[in-house]
């Protein structure tokens, strides 16, 4: 694992942030490529277990966005 490339797991709400992420693409914006997205139906779906599991699996950070 390189120091410069942490892996970030993000949980994005299908209706809000996932849409924003799509729009960022449509607008051809750029941002770091460290983020891996899991689409969830709603942030209500989030459970603390997911965050802990992600960190245990070696994710360097977790980002939950509604």
């Amino acid at each position: 694992m390189s120091d410069k490339n942490p892996k970030i797991l993000s949980f994005l709400c299908n209706w809000c942030s996932y849409g924003a992420a799509d729009l960022a693409g449509v607008s051809r914006m750029e941002y770091p490529s460290n983020i891996r997205v899991i689409r969830i139906p709603c942030t209500g779906r989030m459970s603390p277990k997911f965050i802990l599991a992600a960190l245990r699996q070696g994710a360097d950070a977790v980002w939950v966005s509604g």
Binding site: M1, N5, K7, L9, N14, Y18, G19, A21, D22, L23, A24, G25, V26, S27, R28, M29, E30, Y31, S33, R36, V37, I38, R39, I40, P41, C42, G44, R45, M46, S47, K49, F50, A53, A54, Q57, G58, A59
Partner: protein
């Protein structure tokens, strides 16, 4: 592409700019296009269509201020229109949302808005109507500009009357002034001069107190009005439909979306200047009106689709097919697609991995469904663009190939990968691999899901027998549906019974009697008078309501419900109301006008006091219809006795749209308008002969005394706020007691609860024409459901494993849609169960179930874990 919302979202050639079409050379695009989509030979064609009705929704054009010399629009770069400013605020606009002024791209410190540019003005343009929307959009622009730039930005709006008559608009106006710090200046600026040696502008205006002021601004936004384009005027002539004075399509208050020519309907700003929710209401209403005409031929020209039987895959070992889209060069130009394909084919359970030039193209879809059949694939992953737009398309391909459409996962390697990491192809390829691996591990746990098919009972229930409710019932009946109209009182007609004239001067009672007769005589409409709603159970398509009338109970079944419960007039305890017969509410005056009461004949002077109970703390909304109503009755009094002195005491006159003509005519005929401020309200004293009103005149800045024989209080419209009813249908109400619609702009006539709709005053105060339009709109939305005969619940819903349920009740209390409840009978009585018809699949219950008993299909805990576990390999 003209704009990102274009339908269909495809590129087209601009013949004016195309070198090939202009000069016959180039054609590079044709050579480059990998799917031969470019065709220079296309010519305009005339297509003849045979239709039963036509709906006109051609919209408006913004007024062009080029001709208004005094505003410097044509000459000064920092004078722009509100439409142009809208683009500056937009994240997808030329400045990506940074507020800068055009001349030097510097962030402005002071911006001024001018209202009524191209509206309410006969001197410098032909538009004497009010454009209805500009006050609100100017406030919105000012607030957003302050959000973008920061607190320090000075935003000033110069206006004549502030017209925030829409739902929740008054509160927005208040908070823009008090919380966001937007400055409102009641003044029409007469001179704008460029400041020498700078890009700023100097404004000269007269304040309310009559002082001449000069002030310097960095930038000026002209709030331009809405108008009908000359091309549309020509179209209207060709179609032989009548236009109004303001060049909008002429309609009648009782048929607000019908043009003067039968079969041609109109919606949106071509019917009159209006905002989005009102346009959406109109468009639904127009489709309902058109649908009434076409009810007999409904579904005669639709084609049924054949669906192959579903292959049984439960228990089979996953055989995953991975399709990776190149999207032309959109993905393949950045991500090394062959490398991802190779990587994907080595993943567990993957039977086949391949790439597609355009996975969404028809030939790619066909080859996908062929491969599914040939290789016996039972799970599919598509790595392409976004599931938000393309998931349904691929799911349809699965269905066509005989595979359950939930055996599918889509991962986004375009919008969220290749497009945003184009300078980092290596990392983008790595990311694509990770995303594909995560999708593969999720899909292998995916199970075929069932969409519950629910029958729709082909009947409607309308609650409320006012003008909105009756219009809705009549429209349902005209489209062939049995309708139960429930009225708690003993007469149909609601508030319209009390109203004398519409704003267009038509008698209400005649039309109302006509409507009541047609409702009572319809064999499809069952009118339940003196009836209360006792209980409601069921859900979309299958409601069962218990009606109770004089002790008799009756159960009716209906597929949809329209709430049209109306509102009532506020009875004030101020201005001496109730102490003197000569002080009355607007509806009481209407009654006197209708009956030609001798009292009216004896009047020498009358006064109208506006905003009684509206726009005040505790009732911070504008009742929308009272300004027009009072101005119209003021005119009526003047008509009956031109010698009478008529006064209107107001805060802002809100005769929006073409109702502005009434205000203009009232001033012309000598009605005197006196503005008061809410902290200095008029004082009413009833004497023996006369009533004396003392108010501060805004022009003279001095108290004036008016002696009148009659005082009309324009009181607020108050909803009934029936919580029991709201609970029956699980629909929300706002703090004022009005129902909250699904979406303030895009879903004004429906609730977020499926199968329940709303219209009329229960939604927000509105005049008769708007109530009728909304009633038709509610029916239109409801009929889209009734016409389908069956509804399918989504497959991605929560389900309870009742063996694990601990009956804690968290899911029951937490669900925003009331889907979970405790089972009442059977082996698992007392345990939670989830109604699939109500569940929206948000997963709130799944996450909060402490026993792990709830599974959200399609996003189940083990699937999300498998995605999480999918990342460790990359680390």
């Amino acid at each position: 592409m003209e704009y990102p919302q274009a339908v269909p979202l495809k590129y087209r050639i601009d013949p004016e700019a195309c070198i090939y079409l202009q000069k016959g050379k180039c054609g590079v695009c044709q050579k480059k296009c990998p799917v031969d989509a470019v065709d220079f030979e296309q010519k305009p064609q005339t297509v003849n269509l045979n239709v039963g009705s036509v709906i006109l929704a051609p919209g408006f054009e913004p007024f062009s201020p080029t001709g208004l010399e005094n505003y410097q629009y044509a000459r000064h770069p920092n004078v722009i229109t509100s439409m142009e400013f809208e683009r500056i605020l937009s994240a997808s606009g030329p400045t990506t949302g940074h507020v800068v002024r055009p001349s030097d791209n510097a962030e402005p410190e002071k911006i001024a808005w001018f209202q009524c540019v191209g509206s309410r003005d006969l001197n410098r343009c032909d538009n004497s109507y009010c454009s209805s929307v500009c006050c609100m959009y100017a406030i919105k622009e000012a607030v957003i500009a302050k959000e973008h730039v920061g607190e320090s930005l000075d935003c000033s709006i110069f206006f004549m009357d502030m017209r925030t008559h829409g739902k929740e608009f008054e509160r927005f106006y208040e908070s823009a002034r008090d919380r966001s710090g937007v400055r409102f200046v009641r003044s029409r600026v007469h001179t704008v001069t460029p400041v020498p040696d700078s890009d700023d502008l100097e404004l000269r205006y007269v304040t309310e107190k009559g002082e001449l002021k000069t002030e310097i601004f960095n930038m000026l936004v002209l709030s331009v009005g809405l108008q009908t384009s000359p091309e549309l005027v020509e179209l209207a002539q060709n179609l032989d439909i009548e236009l109004t004075e303001g060049r909008f399509a002429a309609t009648d208050a009782f048929s607000p979306v019908e043009t003067s020519r039968p079969g041609i309907f109109v919606s949106g700003a071509f019917q009159g200047p209006k905002d989005i929710p009102q346009s959406v209401v109109d468009s639904s209403a127009a489709s309902s009106a058109a649908g009434e005409l076409l009810a007999d031929v409904r579904n005669t020209r639709t084609k049924e689709k054949k669906i192959p039987p579903e292959t049984e895959v439960t228990g089979d070992r996953p055989k995953i097919g991975v399709f990776i889209c190149q999207c032309g060069t959109n993905i393949a130009g950045v991500v090394d697609v062959p490398q991802v394909v190779e990587y994907a084919s080595a993943l567990p359970y993957v039977e086949l991995a391949t790439d597609k030039l355009f996975a969404c193209s028809q030939d790619a879809q066909e080859s996908m469904s062929e491969m599914i059949r040939e290789k016996g694939l039972n799970r599919i992953v598509v790595a392409a663009c976004t599931p938000k737009t393309h998931e349904p398309l691929f799911q349809e391909t699965l269905t066509d190939a005989g595979l359950n459409k939930y055996l599918f996962e889509m991962t986004n390697i375009r919008n969220q990968d290749s497009w945003v990491h184009k300078n980092n192809p290596e990392l983008a390829t790595e990311k694509a691999k990770d995303l594909v691996r995560m999708a593969v591990s999720k899909v292998s746990l995916q199970e075929p899901l069932e969409e519950l098919e629910l029958g729709v009972h082909p009947a409607a229930m309308v609650v409320g027998g006012g003008i909105a409710g009756m219009t809705a019932a009549k429209s349902f009946a005209a489209q062939g549906y049995e309708t139960h109209l429930v009225e708690r009182g003993d007469r149909l007609g609601g508030q319209a019974r009390n109203i004398f004239h519409t704003a267009k001067g038509d008698s209400v009672s005649e039309k109302l009697e006509e409507l009541i007769r047609s409702v009572e005589s319809s064999d499809k409409i069952h009118v339940h008078m003196n009836t209360a709603l006792k209980d409601v159970e069921g859900f979309v398509g299958n409601f069962k309501s218990l009606l109770s009338s004089n002790g008799n109970e009756k159960e009716v079944e209906h597929g949809v419900t329209v709430l049209a419960t109306g509102a009532e007039a506020y009875k004030p305890d101020e201005y001496g109301y109730g102490t003197d017969d000569r002080i009355m509410t607007s509806l009481e005056l209407d009654q006197k006008l209708k009956e030609d009461d001798p009292v009216i004949k004896g009047l020498n002077a009358a006064a109208f006091i506006q905003c009684v109970g509206s726009r005040e703390p505790g009732r911070m909304y504008c009742s929308r219809l009272c300004c027009t109503h009072s101005v119209e009755n003021a005119l009526e009094l003047k008509k009956r006795n031109p010698e009478m002195n008529v006064y209107v005491l107001y805060r802002d006159i809100r005769t929006y749209g073409e109702k502005e003509y009434l205000y203009r005519d009232a001033r012309k005929t000598g009605v005197i308008f006196i503005r008061y401020s809410p902290d200095d309200k008029p004082v009413v004293k009833a004497g023996k002969d006369k009533i004396t009103i003392t108010a501060t005149d805004h022009v003279l800045q001095m108290p004036v005394e008016l002696e009148v024989d009659l005082v009309n209080l324009a009181t607020a419209v108050i909803p009934y706020g029936d919580e029991k009813l709201a609970n029956f249908f699980k629909v929300p109400m706002n703090e004022d007691g009005f129902f909250i619609e699904k979406h303030a702009k895009l879903g004004p006539s429906e609730f977020s609860t499926d199968g329940v709709y709303l219209c009329g005053l229960a939604h927000y105060p509105k005049p008769i024409d708007e109530s009728i339009a909304q009633a038709k709109a509610a029916v239109s939305r409801a009929v889209t459901l009734l016409a389908r005969k069956t509804v399918y619940s989504s497959g991605t819903i929560a389900q309870v494993d009742q063996q694990l349920c601990a009956t804690c009740g968290v899911c029951v209390s937490i669900c925003p849609y009331s889907a979970p409840s405790f089972a009442e009978e059977g082996r698992f009585a007392g345990k939670a169960e989830i109604n699939p018809a109500l569940c929206k699949g948000c997963g709130l219950c799944t996450a909060s179930c402490r026993s792990g008993a709830i599974h959200l299909k399609g996003f189940d805990t083990d699937q999300i874990f498998s995605q999480i576990f999918g990342i460790d390999e990359a680390i």
